[in-house]
């Protein structure tokens, strides 16, 4: 096994491969930082350009792009609350409050180092798991995928900082929106009300741009002033302080990386679930849950570690089964096919050098991109000092055109604007936005797998409880839904015990 790993490194350490890796990294960093233009767009644009390249060089270029996109996305997520890519939305939760407190440098430093560590841990996990990948992926069938989607929603709702009910309401709303459009189970079109654009459903990225970038800028316009609440207190902390913070929380990095690796390996679940699940588990595990959402550095480290860790493991279903786990992986699948590499179990045997070269390229790219991110901390943090009257129109402008650029549909602009107003109202009336995002991502998957499960179980709902993996998932959902009541009961019993113990 070791010689295959080394042949992958050897293949990558050629001048041509390194040059294309660096080029891909720079492109990934830039594209990741523009809200709406994620890795899938960058790869799609590069796809025709790779045609003349050797397969290994094309993979180095692609690995460079995919490894750097998350770092680019986290920069705008922290500074502007505008996630460059969908998974970076989880970074906004604590990264943006830190930027508002004048600690943007700290947050970006932590994000960059968590990115690198997550990437490295993800790579180690993939190297260990790749040989047994088939068994791992096959543990999940339709009932498990359905329950995983529900669990994802419930986890995010229960960790919505003491707003479980409102989190579930917005999650339900997200699911309702996710059912709009063509239903590939039955083959009909639903809830489009004659609007042709909606036949493809409400596109995720324009909705995300609206909910986060546009809504936050509108909010900033209403409030006035710069992103950092008190311009006088903005300190661009030393580049290393964020890095040190990451190393102070090894448990958070490890948890995020493991979550990213596991979730990334499950097809169709993707980075959004990985980052939000990692964030939620970190909140659950923390003793000071109230500080999350207000600028807790662990809220930046956890999702960032998960995002880069999942990139490596997302290759498992893509390469082993030809099942892309995300839009980015779907485009990458196209690049593989374009270069005569046929994804499937045979690829794991016949193209090991290319596969391991790609894994190393991803790792190298995320580390290098993080280093560049660290160098750029100081100038980038100054963005938070720009007055909202200047910043908001420019960001709204780029965000809406970025939304249009995804697939050249002007309907995307309308979706972003509508979700922008919606996000603004949700901020105003204190409804969490995260569950909407998770529901939009998981809605289609949940419905598809629900129908498949029903067919498998001959219409019986028992199918969700009689398989051991689905049984565990179902039990987790029930425990989580009951957790606020359980926690309050435990608190009350403790209080009564203390009072009783203190009584004469």
């Amino acid at each position: 096994m070791m010689h295959v790993w080394l042949s992958g490194i050897e293949g990558l350490l050629q001048l041509k491969e390194l040059t294309f890796l660096a080029l891909g990294m720079i492109i990934g960093l830039i594209f990741g930082a523009i809200p709406g233009i994620g890795g899938s767009t960058a790869l799609a644009l590069l796809m025709p350009l790779t045609y003349g390249l050797e397969p290994f060089t094309a993979l180095a270029l692609s690995g460079g792009v995919m490894g750097a996109v998350p770092m680019g996305g986290s920069i705008t997520a922290i500074l502007l609350n505008a996630p460059g890519t969908a998974p970076n939305a989880a970074t906004c939760l604590d990264g943006y409050p830190l930027a508002q407190q004048g600690k943007a440098g700290l947050a970006i430093g932590a994000a960059a180092s968590a990115n690198s560590l997550g990437g490295i841990i993800g790579t180690i996990s993939v190297l260990a798991v790749l040989p047994i990948a088939k068994e791992l992926v096959l543990l999940f069938g339709p009932p498990e995928f359905f329950l995983l989607a529900i669990l994802g929603l419930v986890v995010v709702a229960t960790t919505s900082r003491g707003k479980m009910l409102r989190g579930l309401v917005t999650g339900g709303f997200g699911l309702m929106v996710a059912f709009i459009g063509y239903n590939d189970v039955v083959g009909d079109v639903r809830f489009t009300y004659g609007i042709e654009y909606l036949w493809d459903g409400v596109h995720l990225v324009p909705a995300l741009i609206g909910l986060f970038a546009v809504a936050e800028m509108m909010n900033l316009m209403v409030k006035g002033g710069p992103v950092a609440k008190d311009a006088g207190t903005v300190k661009v902390t030393r580049m290393m302080s964020g890095v040190i913070e990451t190393f102070r929380h090894p448990g958070t990095v490890l948890r995020g990386s493991i979550v990213g690796t596991v979730v990334g390996a499950i097809p169709g679940v993707g980075g959004v679930v990985a980052s939000f699940l990692s964030y939620s588990l970190t909140v659950q595990a923390s003793k000071d849950q109230e500080s999350f959402g207000k600028g807790n550095i662990k809220g930046v480290i956890a999702p960032e570690a998960a995002i880069n860790a999942k990139d490596g493991s997302a290759l498992i279903p893509t390469l082993a089964f030809g099942i892309p786990g995300s839009a980015e992986m779907a485009v990458f699948l196209g690049i593989l096919v374009l270069h005569g590499l046929q994804p499937g179990p045979l690829m794991l045997v016949q193209n090991q050098t290319e596969i391991y070269g790609l894994v190393w390229a991803l790792t190298a790219s995320c580390i290098l991109a993080s280093c560049i991110g660290l160098v750029l901390v100081r100038p980038l943090a100054m963005i938070t000092l720009i007055e909202s009257e200047v910043l908001a129109p420019v960001v709204i402008c780029i965000a809406l055109i970025g939304s249009y650029a995804i697939d050249g549909q002007i309907g995307n602009v309308v979706v972003s604007a509508v979700f922008g107003v919606l996000g603004c109202l949700m901020l105003r009336f204190d409804y969490p936005r995260l569950t909407v995002v998770v529901a939009l991502v998981l809605g289609g998957m949940a419905e598809r797998n629900f129908h498949q499960s029903m067919i498998m179980g001959d219409g019986s709902w028992l199918i969700f409880a009689t398989r051991w993996v689905s049984g565990i998932l179902l039990a987790s959902i029930i425990i989580l839904l009951g957790s606020p009541v359980l926690r309050a009961l435990i608190r009350r019993i403790r209080k009564q015990t203390v009072v009783a113990a203190g009584a004469p």
């Binding site: 523009i34 233009i37 767009t41 644009l45 900082r161 003491g162 707003k163 479980m164 009910l165 409102r166 579930l168 309401v169 339900g172 709303f173 309702m176 059912f179 239903n183 189970v185 039955v186 009909d188 639903r190 809830f191 546009v214 509108m218 909010n219 316009m221 209403v222 409030k223 109230e290 009257e389 200047v390 908001a392 129109p393 420019v394 709204i396 402008c397 780029i398 809406l400 055109i401 249009y404 650029a405 050249g408 002007i410 602009v413 309308v414 604007a417 922008g420 107003v421 603004c424 109202l425 009336f429 204190d430 409804y431 949940a446 419905e447 629900f450 129908h451 606020p484 009541v485 309050a488």
Partner: protein, 163 residues
Amino acid sequence: MKRLFGAPVTGYLPALVLALLTAGYLATAYGYSPDSRIMPVLVAWSMLVLLALDLASRTCTRLGQALTHWLNPAAARDEDGPRYPASQQVAAVLWLAGFATALLLIGVLYAVPLYIFASLLLRGRRSPLFSLVAAGGVTLIVWLLFALVLRLQLYPGLLFGGG
């Protein structure tokens, strides 16, 4: 401000509007085949139950306080937190709606400079020269990035042949 069950009326609005939307959604869902509607119906009914709980939790009754204590302990009430004039909130929505409409009607290359210039001049109270330069700069960046680098055909607007 008018109050209902001890709480401001505006606090009930989001849940009420969502309940109305959900009811409409549910009515539409029942028009589809049983296989097609099963999940939307399931979600919509669950939503109505959750919204009923949300509405109840917003009242200042014993039930409302109990629900908030169990399910929404950290949720801010409508009167909590900083309040901004309604006119500013409406203005932010109108500026966004105006820009989106301009993009639809006159396309990217006219809407972008117009929006940036007007926004900086009228809302940001910047000088006409600064607004003009900023509008030109942003338009140039948009053109370079999207048209030149990404080779994207910038939307020309419905009035200029956009579909």
